[in-house]
Amino acid sequence: MVPLHWYLWLGSLMFCIGMAGFLIRRNIIIMFLCIELMLNGVNVNLVALSHYMQDLRGQVLTLMVIAVAAAEAAVGLAIVIALFRNRPTVHVDEITEMKG
């Protein structure tokens, strides 16, 4: 039997790798991928907890996360396309129109 902690560690690692990727990559598409990675890390945790606590609510939440992830990817990528149409770059540090 695999202990719960292993799953939780795995989820944490995935989350942190995703976060690191989000913080250090310049390419906006890979940043989106990193977000997906983070969400997956969370999902792993949720499912594992759901399993060990013998409650399905965690898995329901996972479904919601997947739905939100899909929506987020759709909108985010649409934004990227719209952006790229105006400024042909996907490097976020070159897109600073929204600065204060």
């Binding site: 560690w9 989350f15 759901s50 329901v60 479904l63 997947i66």
Partner: protein
């Protein structure tokens, strides 16, 4: 036995996720991601969540990643690959992430579950996983479920509006 399978999945997932984060070419990243999703689905299977494993593959691998690939193709990013991958402040990002990781790991060490719900393995197997999940989803969490559909609808509309070229007037 289960530990070995878990070990395989876990190690593979970590390696792949590092590759996702570091590859120069976004297409490679996406493809690594695809592989990652399959392994995550494997983890789900280990946890007796067959329906979720299926959803993972169908939705993530089948829909979202395709969307990513589409976008990359659409943008034609050939010259983008020549320039540096990381931001100038990358050590800071790495540091913070490591910090979060350390805190999480230390925090999780003392983590104990005290709550025990009604859906133990036996009951799920009796009712089959999909049916059990469906029951919870459509009774207790009906409203959130409907809202999720609304979110998706709006996301579609939003995506269409954003990605559409401006009408020439």
């Amino acid at each position: 036995m289960v530990e070995i399978i878990f070990g395989y999945f876990a190690i593979t997932i970590l390696i792949i996720s590092l590759l996702v984060v570091t590859s120069r070419n976004p297409v490679h990243s996406v493809l690594w991601m695809l592989l990652l999703f399959f392994h995550v689905a494997g983890i789900y299977l280990l946890l007796n969540a067959e329906f979720l494993a299926a959803t993972q593959i169908i939705v993530y691998a089948g829909a979202i990643l395709v969307l990513f690939l589409f976008t990359i193709m659409l943008l034609d990013l050939r010259e983008e690959m020549q320039i540096q991958r990381f931001t100038r402040g990358w050590p800071a990002g790495l540091l913070i992430s490591t910090g979060v990781l350390i805190v999480l790991i230390t925090g999780l060490k003392g983590f104990k579950t005290t709550f025990v719900g009604q859906w133990d393995i036996k009951e799920i197997e009796e009712a089959t996983h999909t049916k059990a999940l469906g029951k919870v989803l459509f009774t207790e969490y009906l409203l959130p479920f409907e809202i999720a559909s609304l979110v998706l609808l709006i996301a579609i509309l939003g995506a269409v509006v954003l990605a559409k070229k401006k009408l020439k007037t």
